[in-house]
């Protein structure tokens, strides 16, 4: 082989010659060659399809996370597993004033909204809706959830401090209750109390993965109003200034809540701070593992395919022993013979890889069209996977073709010519 590299033109010529010879050989044994490559075909087809599916899933999920907001931090109360506070729900519950001064103490937090909720019936005139999500929110909620007021106005500070009985509705609600098109100023009954509509907000973006299929029937009232009326369980959502500082924001929040809740250093947290970013990282890890596992399985099938290639190449070498002998007799070096058979094995494998990628593409189209599996609709084979498939095929060819090729290269010309 080294000798060949010293004369690059001969090498190039033998390479081109080898490719032609191999193509001729494969063409002469069409059926055999095709059957031989089936292992590779299956391996490559499944690897590309699996990668396509995982990639599609990942794109879909990350998109979902994106619409969810990657700099959101969810703040919930959490019961410690042991210690005196274990069963003290009532002591641990968030109260509205627990969030006072939060922004001053947490510079990485841009804004936050306190949240609470319950469900009630909603009535307007003759129309009534039985179970409607009633949410208490702060004005920053619009920004954090990116659902803005499209008609009327958002809640004001006075609405909140005075616990006014005002509400925001969605277009769905308006239509279901047969309210006027411009329903601002109309009054509806929420749980036997009358609320005046001050504005209308955007519909919730339907998410396939999170809370999909949930009811679109929701009304929003000022947090304090909800709190005064029912004292429901409260939580909060904070927005960090950017996804990059979301860990900082989380640390600041933790410090803030530990202090305001008077936790001693040895006490466990009595609250939980969930960051979407952490799920994103988690998910990326999972998808990587999924890809790796799939890759491993497929690696095995490629190995099986490679053994098939090796087998047929051994057959080919012994069938063509005389030819090898003759080539040697007229001056082919062992390296030239080696190259010829390696090229043949590699081309066989690449051929299998090509068919495999084509099948993989068909499978991917199939996968992305499975009904009721929206999370796979974005399945597509990334370019690097195609490259990987061909790279691996070629590698399998070199690896499993090496033994037969070396066997051919080492044949003694006289013995080979005498071979029957």
């Amino acid at each position: 082989m080294l000798g060949l590299l010293k004369s690059p033109f001969t090498f190039l010529r033998l390479l081109v010659q080898g490719v032609w010879l191999a193509l001729g050989q494969i063409w002469a044994n069409k059926i055999r060659s095709t059957l031989t490559t089936i292992g590779i075909v299956i391996g490559v087809a499944s690897v590309t399809a699996v990668i396509a599916a995982v990639t599609g899933l990942k794109t879909k999920v990350l998109d979902e996370f994106e619409t969810f907001g990657t700099n959101k931090i969810y703040i919930h109360t959490d019961r410690p597993e042991k210690g005196p506070l274990r069963n003290a729900w009532h002591l641990l519950r968030f109260k509205p004033e627990h969030f006072d001064g939060l922004l001053e103490h947490c510079p990485s937090v841009e804004c936050f909204t306190r949240m609470c909720g319950y469900s009630r019936s909603v009535i307007y005139g003759e129309r009534s809706l039985e179970i409607v999500q009633v949410r208490g929110i702060d004005p920053h909620w619009h920004k954090i959830e990116s659902r803005h007021v499209i008609l009327g106005r958002p809640f004001s500070v006075i609405d909140d401090t005075h616990s006014r009985q005002v509400c925001l509705v969605t277009p769905t609600m308006r239509d279901k209750l047969l309210l006027d098109r411009d329903c601002v100023g109309q009054a509806i009954v929420i749980g036997r109390r009358s609320f005046r509509i001050v504005g209308m907000i955007e519909e919730r973006v339907e998410s396939a993965m999170f809370g999909g299929g949930g009811s679109q029937e929701e009304v929003f009232i000022p947090f304090n109003t909800a709190w005064k009326l029912h004292r429901p369980r409260a939580w909060a959502i904070a927005n960090s200034k950017s996804p990059e500082v979301s860990e900082d924001a989380r640390a600041e929040l933790r410090f803030f809540f530990r202090k305001t809740r008077h936790l001693k250093p040895e006490d466990p947290d009595t609250f939980r701070l969930d960051v979407i970013e952490q799920f994103v990282q988690e998910f990326k890890k999972i998808s990587l593992i999924m890809t790796a596992v799939a890759g491993g399985i497929v690696g095995i099938s490629l190995l099986v395919g490679g053994v098939g290639i090796m087998n047929i190449m051994l057959v080919s070498v012994s069938e063509r022993t005389r030819e090898i002998g003759l080539r040697k007799a007229v001056g082919a070096r062992p390296s030239a013979i080696l190259l010829q058979f390696l090229i043949e094995a590699v081309i066989l494998c690449l051929f299998g890889g090509l068919i495999g990628v084509a099948f993989g593409q068909i499978m991917t189209i199939g996968i992305s069209n499975i009904p009721n599996a929206e999370f796979l609709e974005k399945a597509s084979i990334p370019l690097w996977a195609v490259g990987l498939a061909f790279g691996f095929s070629a590698l399998v060819g070199v690896f499993f073709g090496m033994f037969p090729a070396v066997k051919a290269a080492q044949l003694d010309p006289i013995d080979a010519l005498r071979h029957e």
């Binding site: 000798g3 004369s7 033109f9 001969t10 010529r13 033998l14 010659q17 001729g24 002469a28 005389r322 030819e323 002998g325 003759l326 080539r327 040697k328 007799a329 007229v330 001056g331 082919a332 070096r333 062992p334 390296s335 030239a336 003694d412 010309p413 006289i414 010519l417």
Partner: protein, 233 residues
């Protein structure tokens, strides 16, 4: 001297038995000689030819080809010698069945360093013309007669302009009429300056040559110029 063998032996081991296929051969062949090697079956003619053709190695002794000792050459260097210095014609032609005559002739050029694509094509064509097969270039071996096949094989042996043409029973598979044609071709090549060594069983073939080496049991029994116009022996 083109070829110089000194005390060359070739021993085959079959099981525990040792076969002395060649047993102390001393031989010199100069440029533009026309030599026949004769002898009974099993006397070591083919073994000698394979050694001369660098297809095989001697068990002991030295073989100098154009002044170079081939005994210590590696496989690659041997291949180069076969390619550049030696043309070998086999009794059973040994053509590649799936490619046409021209491609068969071109084969040694693929493994040689000289010439590009155009030279290879032209050279193969011209040699094929030289053996009288211009109009058979596109024929596959199974579309050729025995004599034509052997001509293609001879063209292949000549395509790299070797210093020696070796032929092991080149007419062994041919009927006498066809043989005559092949022998005429050899005669012509000899007149053009080619060194030729051929193996034959037939006196009528040997009579074409200028020197006859007779072998028996791996030894050279006699080595003398061809006597013209009568039976040698």
């Amino acid at each position: 001297m083109l070829i110089r063998l000194e005390n060359v032996t070739k021993i085959y081991k079959v099981g525990v038995e040792k076969i002395h296929a060649l047993d102390g051969i001393d031989l010199e062949v100069g440029e533009n000689e026309y030599v026949a090697v004769m002898g009974p079956s099993g006397s070591g003619k083919s073994t000698l030819m394979n050694l001369l053709g660098c297809l095989d190695r001697a068990t002991s002794g030295t073989y100098k080809l154009a002044g170079k000792d081939t005994t210590r050459m590696g496989a690659g260097a041997m291949a180069r010698v076969r390619n550049q210095q030696i043309g070998f014609v086999f009794q059973s032609f040994e053509l590649l069945p799936r490619v046409n005559a021209l491609k068969n002739v071109e084969l040694p050029l693929i493994y040689s360093r000289n010439g590009g694509w155009w030279y290879r094509r032209q050279q193969s064509r011209s040699v094929l013309g030289h053996v009288g097969l211009t109009d058979r270039a596109k024929h596959r071996p199974n579309q050729l007669s025995g004599g034509e096949k052997q001509r293609v094989a001879i063209a292949r042996a000549l395509v790299c302009k070797p210093s020696i043409l070796l032929a092991d029973e080149p007419t062994g598979n041919l009927e006498s009429k066809t043989s005559d044609g092949i022998l005429a071709l050899f005669d012509q090549l000899y007149r053009e300056g080619q060194t030729i060594i051929l193996v034959t069983h037939e006196e009528s073939v040997a009579r074409h040559t200028k020197r006859i080496i007779r072998m028996r049991d791996g030894k050279i029994q006699s080595d003398e110029p061809t006597r013209k116009g009568g039976e040698s022996c």
